[in-house]
Symmetry: C2
Subunit: 264 residues, 2 copies
């Protein structure tokens, strides 16, 4: 479906997704609404995972946690159903992807706790609005992602290195990029590193570990932000018996507007 | 002991407290260091309480959570021991205060999870540094606290109204007070209400529910901030079999500096 012909409100978009009429990546859909990463885990891992997010707010910015037995994110998407309102889900067992589905109803259990984590779409909109163009958006590519040597703060069974996204920023716009993204701590916030990829363990910044490789031109500096892939990577490492996530790019869309997760 | 004769670093102050040589309220002690409210609960209530804090960050700003079996806040006060390094503790059983002690060693259990929550001392320093004098500090009184009709977002067994602190601010300094405290979301952050006490369910702003009553003079407006008493009040309402807190005014002092919990 053409993005331009879609309804503008998150609620109406979710209704289309629920009916199976919209199965496509959600970038650019319901513009201005906060989109989220989804991580669903059994209750006996939920305290450790919640604590991991609390200790690592930059890679794991919590937008909402839906308690066991519930499927409705009452605070950020009242009326939604987490089993049906994301277009594609991935089912992992003991850390292995076993299936990709469009409906979780057959997989749902009453002991599952759902974590909605901020995604970078919100701060990318803010960067673009501030006149900072983003190459991967212009080239219609996925953002470049890298594993780093920055260790997250462990919590219970969860530990591991931080994954970051990289965006090339013209040197004279770095200050602005820091200012703009600092306003959005709920969706990864300020950069965690500017320049010198080797200092955070990245050997070749022209070859991404995940997503697409993105060219860095003369006069541009690679700027790194904490990435929402981190909590998934860390959770998977602990090989939970069951973990459900959204499929990459197929985010859960909340009713929140970008400004709802900004400070100052 | 005179505050002026005390060591300036948090670590040295905690050593004195551990030896029982410093049993007094901690306001003004180890200046510039982040002081915290302490809430200690059995592990089976820890997920709900952590989630309550996540959902209510203004009254419950988490500085650190120490997992069951541990007594050292490794991130914010390495080397400290939560059983001995606060000068006075309160032991509550089923919501009732049963004892006030200076050492938790006899009460400690391996299933206890400790929550360190930001306290307003940090943002009060920032207000004073910004030229906004605080009457309760000048008069050496406790800050005025009120129960409100603002409901917190419930989590599991925890729910209840928000407790707020009130500080009279000259009308021409309200904007500055909002700006200064907005920089400190980790210690209650921006006000939750300005003026009109009745709008948040406060009948008589000259008579505080907790702490001391504080006079509001001509040209001043009562400004309200979320209060760290909220999580204790909410937890107590659920009558947990055991809950341990610091005694009011006798805070746990971390190694963090105020600027460590600021944004922008």
């Amino acid at each position: 479906m053409q993005v331009s012909s879609l309804p503008k409100h998150a609620r109406e978009v979710r209704a289309l997704i629920r009916k199976g009429e919209l199965v496509q990546p959600t970038s650019g859909i319901a513009p201005g609404h906060v989109q989220t990463n989804l991580a669903i885990l059994p209750k006996d891992l939920a305290f450790d995972f919640l604590l991991f997010c609390q200790r690592n707010p930059k890679p794991c910015p919590l937008i909402e946690v839906v308690e066991a037995g519930n499927t409705e994110p009452k605070q950020t998407a009242p009326g939604a159903d987490l089993r049906t309102d994301t277009a594609k889900y991935r089912i992992f067992r003991h850390g292995k992807l076993v299936e990709e589905v469009t409906d979780l109803s057959d997989y749902w259990r009453d002991d599952l706790v759902s974590f909605l984590l901020g995604c970078s779409f919100s701060f990318e909109n803010a960067l673009i609005n501030a006149g900072i163009s983003l190459r991967h958006v212009e080239q219609n590519k996925n953002v470049a992602m890298f594993y780093t040597n920055i260790q997250t703060v462990p919590a219970g069974v969860f530990s591991g290195p931080m994954v970051v996204t990289m965006r090339p920023i013209p040197r004279d716009k770095i200050v602005k990029a820091v200012q703009v993204t600092s306003r959005f701590p709920g969706v990864h916030g300020a950069p965690i590193h500017i320049g010198d990829p080797a200092a955070i363990g990245i050997k070749d910044v022209t070859k991404s570990d995940l997503g697409d490789s993105i060219e860095i031109r003369d006069g541009e500096v690679p700027v790194f932000w904490a990435c929402g892939v981190t909590p998934q990577a860390v959770a998977m490492k602990s090989k939970p018996p069951l973990m459900i996530t959204h499929s990459p790019g197929y985010m859960f869309i909340t009713d929140l507007k970008d400004e709802d997760v900004s400070v100052l």
